[in-house]
Amino acid sequence: QEDIKIGFIVKKPEQAWFINEQRAASEMGNKLGFEVVRLGGEDGQAVLSAIDNLYAQNAQGFVICPPDVRLGPAIMHRARQYDMKVITVDDQFVTADGQPIEDVPHLGMSGTKIGQQVGEAIVVEMKTRGWDPKEVAALRISNNELPTAVERTDGATQSLLAAGFPEDHIFDAPQQNTDTSSAFSAASPVLAQHSDYKHWVIYALNEESVLGGVRATEQYGLDAQDVIGVGINGSGAAFAEFSREKPTGFFGTVAVSSTMHGRQTAENLYYWITEGKVPKANTETAGTLMTRDNWQAVRKALGL
């Protein structure tokens, strides 16, 4: 039996999320005795080069989080040419009409659903704090250039609206990047413009961006008690915030186990290659709400 080698291609290799994912995959490889080649694929060209590179190394398949879900056909075309097996992680391929490509096994969370979880968490906390909906505004830090970001913020918006949140209290703050300072800059004018609201809720595609919004509210003298920010991922940015002395407007984050994603997909691919065991077509994972009170426990449970 020849050596098993698989690739793990991710769209943003610098992000904590993907670092965890790739590391977990390598650990699984060590355990089961196969090699994992970790590669970055920031755009279509880079992904195809990464696949070529894997082919040159005689890899038998790869796990991928694509930079764009519509790249599915092109990626699959190349993989079939090289006779490689493919599993998607986090983001699922779609066809031209926006339907998921069913014959590529997938493991991940739907952006919309995770967004909805964010929205639900906000709604619950608003009730707990007993806010009057008339006095609450929502700061939606958006990033229209990134389809997954749109899915997530749209999901959260849906939940808010479903819970009766007034649509004209939701304000967009389009950020130019996905980091804290760009979210801060985007949030500032929006907060300046709507000084008449007493409470704010904040959501965005990830924790860093929500944090930027929270920092902006602090800048305008809003009390931590008047702000509910909920992020997504469960990374260092959130841990940093939770470990501060006093609670801030960053209420919580919907954490997903990147470790589990990495470990599971690598394992599935390995058994598919070695034993021909085709993985489940679509495994949906869910997020766990992580707050100041439970973050260490959740972190441990998810292996982050």
């Binding site: 610098e14 904590a16 801060f184 413009q193 860093e208 800048q219 260092g236 940015a237 841990f239 940093a240």
Partner: protein, 336 residues
């Protein structure tokens, strides 16, 4: 021009003295320094047309939002005046922030954290200067290499994830306020002042401009061009370090992914402010106005809720139009 003359005549005959004075002031402004005029007009237009623009909290927010670009633009001005360019600033900001976060957390001392961050920035800057001055490497390529390298260092230092800061005093640094303005704003104002003075009133500053205008001439006249370059890049590094530390403290974390693409925004602001990329020409008022124009436009787009995709168009167009207007002013003045 005809339009201008018309305005003037109308002003002379029909309007009260106060307005006439204003008109005249505007015209002189437009004639002597096109860019300041653009800015004044822009600012007045925004103040009139956008209700929330002139509010106190928006002004505070506006000021805060330009602190990064503003502070960095002052030393970038020196770098450009020297006829060089520095693409590594954004990476230095990220790296210095990460270093400060790690050092603070591991030592427990804010002072050590702040100093390490600034030193890290200064070290990268001085290294850039050394490579450029000593080996004669083109600065665009040297700092492009540094941009990659230092971003890599930031990732490695942080392990890729934002570094949490557990010492509360560190956060207070970025939000410490004096006379209603926070430390980052004061830092930016200090940079404007210091580097304005440096450029115009010191031998060092004049030597920078002379070297940018004609490096050979400066060297022949006995200016130590090498040392000058090392110092200027070093200063740029130090300022980027300070900016990085303040950013980390404001955001409460050292984020290795932060400020991507900031270098181009900083360079744009300078060029918008009339700094010549070929070296030898720079003014601090120009740079301040360049920074303000960019900040105001971005802020106004936020207030007006301009759709994201159209913001790209507006930013591109403003940049081009402002520079074109400035050129047009110059040729007009020459042909007088």
């Amino acid at each position: 021009m005809t339009a201008n003359r018309l305005t003037e005549e109308v002003g002379m005959s029909a309007q009260p003295a106060g307005q006439q004075g204003l008109m005249k002031l505007l015209r002189t402004l437009l004639d002597t320094s096109g860019l300041i005029a653009i800015f004044v007009l822009l600012f007045m237009a925004l103040a009139l047309l956008i209700p929330d623009f002139m509010t106190g909290r928006n002004m505070v927010g506006l000021l805060l939002s330009i602190t990064l670009i503003g502070s960095l633009a002052t030393t970038m001005m020196l770098v450009l005046a020297l006829g060089e360019v520095d693409l590594s600033v954004a990476s230095i900001v990220a790296f210095a922030g990460v270093v400060a976060a790690v050092a603070t957390t591991s030592s427990g001392s804010v002072l050590i954290g702040v100093i390490s961050g600034i030193l890290a920035g200064g070290a990268v800057g001085a290294f850039n200067g050394l490579v450029i001055a000593k080996f004669g490497i083109n600065s665009l390529i040297a700092t492009l290499a540094a941009m990659e390298f230092v971003r890599g260092l930031a990732y490695i230092t942080s392990g890729g994830d934002a570094v949490m800061i557990t010492v509360p005093a560190f956060f207070e640094l970025g939000s410490a306020a004096f006379l209603g303005l926070t430390l980052p704003v004061w830092t930016m104002l200090a940079c404007f002042l210091i580097f304005g003075v440096v450029l115009n009133m010191t031998v060092f500053g004049r030597n920078v401009l002379a070297t940018g205008g004609n490096a050979e001439a400066a060297a022949l006249a006995g200016v130590n061009v090498r040392r000058l370059k090392i110092i200027v890049f070093g200063l740029q590094g130090v300022v980027a370090g300070i900016v990085g530390v303040l950013l980390a403290s404001r955001m409460g974390l050292g984020d290795p992914n932060t400020s991507m693409g900031l270098e181009l925004a900083v360079i744009s602001a300078c060029v918008l402010g009339g700094v010549a990329l070929s070296g030898g020409v720079a003014t601090i008022t120009g740079v301040v106005v360049g920074v303000l124009i960019m900040g105001c436009v971005q802020n106004a787009m936020g207030l007006l809720n301009v759709p994201t995709f159209y913001q790209y168009l507006v930013r591109g167009a403003i940049l081009l139009l402002a520079v074109m207007f400035d050129r047009w002013k110059q040729t007009r003045r020459q042909s007088h």
